[in-house]
Amino acid sequence: MMDEFSAAKLDEIRAKISESRKVQKTCITVCGGTGCHAYGCLKVAEAFKDEIKKQNLQDSVDVRITGCHGFCERGPITVIQPEGIFYQRIQLKDIKEVISETIINKKIVNRLLYTEPRTKEKIVYEEEVPFYKKQKRIIFGNNGFIDPTDINDYIALDGYKALVKVLFDMTSEEVIADIEASGLRGRGGGGFPTGKKWEVCREVNSDVKYIICNADEGDPGAYMDRSLLEGNPHSIIEGMIIGAYAIGASLGFIYVRMEYPLAVKNVTMAVEQAKRLGLLGESILGSEFKFDIHIFRGAGAFVSGEETSLMASIEGRRAFPRQRPPYPAQEGLWGKPTNINNVETWANVPLIINKGAEWYSEIGTKNSKGTKIFSLVGKINNTGLVEVPMGIKLREIIYDIGGGIKDNKKFKAVQTGGPSGGCIPADQLDLSIDFESLTKAGSMMGSGGMIVMDEDTCMVDVARYFLNFTQEESCGKCVPCRIGTSQLVEILTRITKGKGDEKDLEKLIDLSRSVKDGSLCGLGQTAPNPVLTTIRYFRDEYEAHIKEKSCPALVCKDLIIYHIEPEKCVGCLLCLKNCPVDAISGERKKVHVIDQELCIKCGACLDVCPPKVSAVSKYTGKKRDRILKKASGQRVKK
């Protein structure tokens, strides 16, 4: 198939695929993202196939394992096309019924539908589920239709059309002008205008140039890049080929985290398929342009997401960042001009070429164009990946799409930008989500993690968590980052243990500034952001820890106790049996008591106490002291 592959032939193939799929054949799509994998989606898909065979429906019904649908909270997700019937939390025992009822009798299985928690309304179609309604899924939407292991699926949906347009109808200048006009900015966190970046690299004179796709998605709580790589790898590959053409690069690398085995597998397979069809390699689609892609598996170092570190890693060295300038566009991989963009940025490229810069630039705000995919996680009802137009309000994401906070708790903050970002408090819920507004609020767009926190989240603990993370991931090259972050962790830990000093807050702020100023790369320059924003917005929580030795969110172990309310306890022995350290005493139908000296505060008693009894509570501050005093008094009496 490889010989003489041309643009005309690609059209031919596309026509053939469309023809073969023209008959509106029923297709059961099962989400194959990592979340749904964990819920057992592969078994569900297999069971569908078996049942279809059993019912002899192979000719009229297809089963397809697709990319991630985004609504991870409700996995495993199954959508029946072409109608778009949306079934969630589907189990093996449901398969038979879906086939007999929905496929054969054309009836909806009500119990598998999504229920809108507020109105209790059952929703039949995917597009009507509130989680999807306010989204604008221009990048991510195709995931649900594509089997990522089959290039034909991508081609059928106009895949590689943009590449043909670029190769045969556009000069490299025109491509760059288009990308610039679209207003696309880097989706990896920095937000640098993509067109400009390309232009700088294009203008450097060099025999060899490289491009890189940064898929080292290291921010904890962010997984949109993985879902794109897993679910629609060809969109990224097509974007890279177009970028390479514009810049004049002949070799590209996809640097992907080894923690994402499915992404590695799917993208490797996609590159091979593209090669076989002549979309990569010598004389692409019969043109004079040649370009190839290598996959590089990362080895577990957060700092390698930083561009100069990433290049050091590809070169087979320790992922140490280096001074810029020279920028990678001037001196990158092996000293050659190199352009590096994030996964989502590359995925935007074919879309802009196909639909035009003007169309694209109409989405978003003045300075932030297009859409952004966020991973909406934490204490939120609808966990998942959401793609929204820039400029949307934070409130809309959290309440309209995310369905509000879990268990009707109070919203406290949202953390964006990963370990480099910051926490945005409740009074800024009407913040517009774009590069500038987020930076102004003390956070940043980052790669798109959005971790929702409720009243049960301790902000001091969150700051400590992030600093602990950056301290462990600091490569150690710059002293302020290496030693500063561990000092910050030490102070924060002290505060969470109730051993903080009133001067600690000023020390934290001071030290944070030194770390920011004295570090070479983005890791150190942004590492103190979680500390600074939590102090800025939640100073009272720090003060409670320091002055009152209390943790208002009841998280910090050293500052809380577990207590069984005597008037509520029914003496069911459940907590007593589940306590791993035998700290609870009592008899059947008699009040149980926790020995505070033995208690390790694992929370098992709280977990098992039946909800209608809910006799176990956590206490901090004065109430805690009163209970402890009473307990020690009783002990003395004994």
Binding site: E315, G316, T383, Y465, P580, C602, A604, D607, V608
Partner: protein
Amino acid sequence: MSESNKDQRELIHMLHDTQEKFGYIPAHSISQISRELKISESEIFGVLTFYKAFALKPRGKHLITICMGTACHVRGAPMIIDEFERKLGIEAGETTEDNLFTLETVNCVGACALGPIAIADGDYHGQMKTREVDEIIKKLKEGKNKDIE
């Protein structure tokens, strides 16, 4: 790119292969890679200890990985890791003396909807509770590690 660069580029690939083959990087492999790539052993040692993917010691028979991503953290992952550490009598990153269990943490597995998550020999256990820890360890010991949902 010059020829020597090309050699160094193979280093991380080779380390990945070795790690996959043996479950760790044995000393003799370091010498072998050193000869093949003409890079000093100390340089290789420097690279492999920089990255978390490579271990110098073999792991236990069963691997338990706890996700320490932010979403898991706010949903109580620290309690889960404490409980595993207590039950196994080791700290995260260590292997039990009988070589049965290795306990590790990972920054994020990106299955945030299921947090907090423990992965036991490749099986995901989502929405973990501290009291389920014992059960997972027991099932691993009995060789019956199936998804407990």
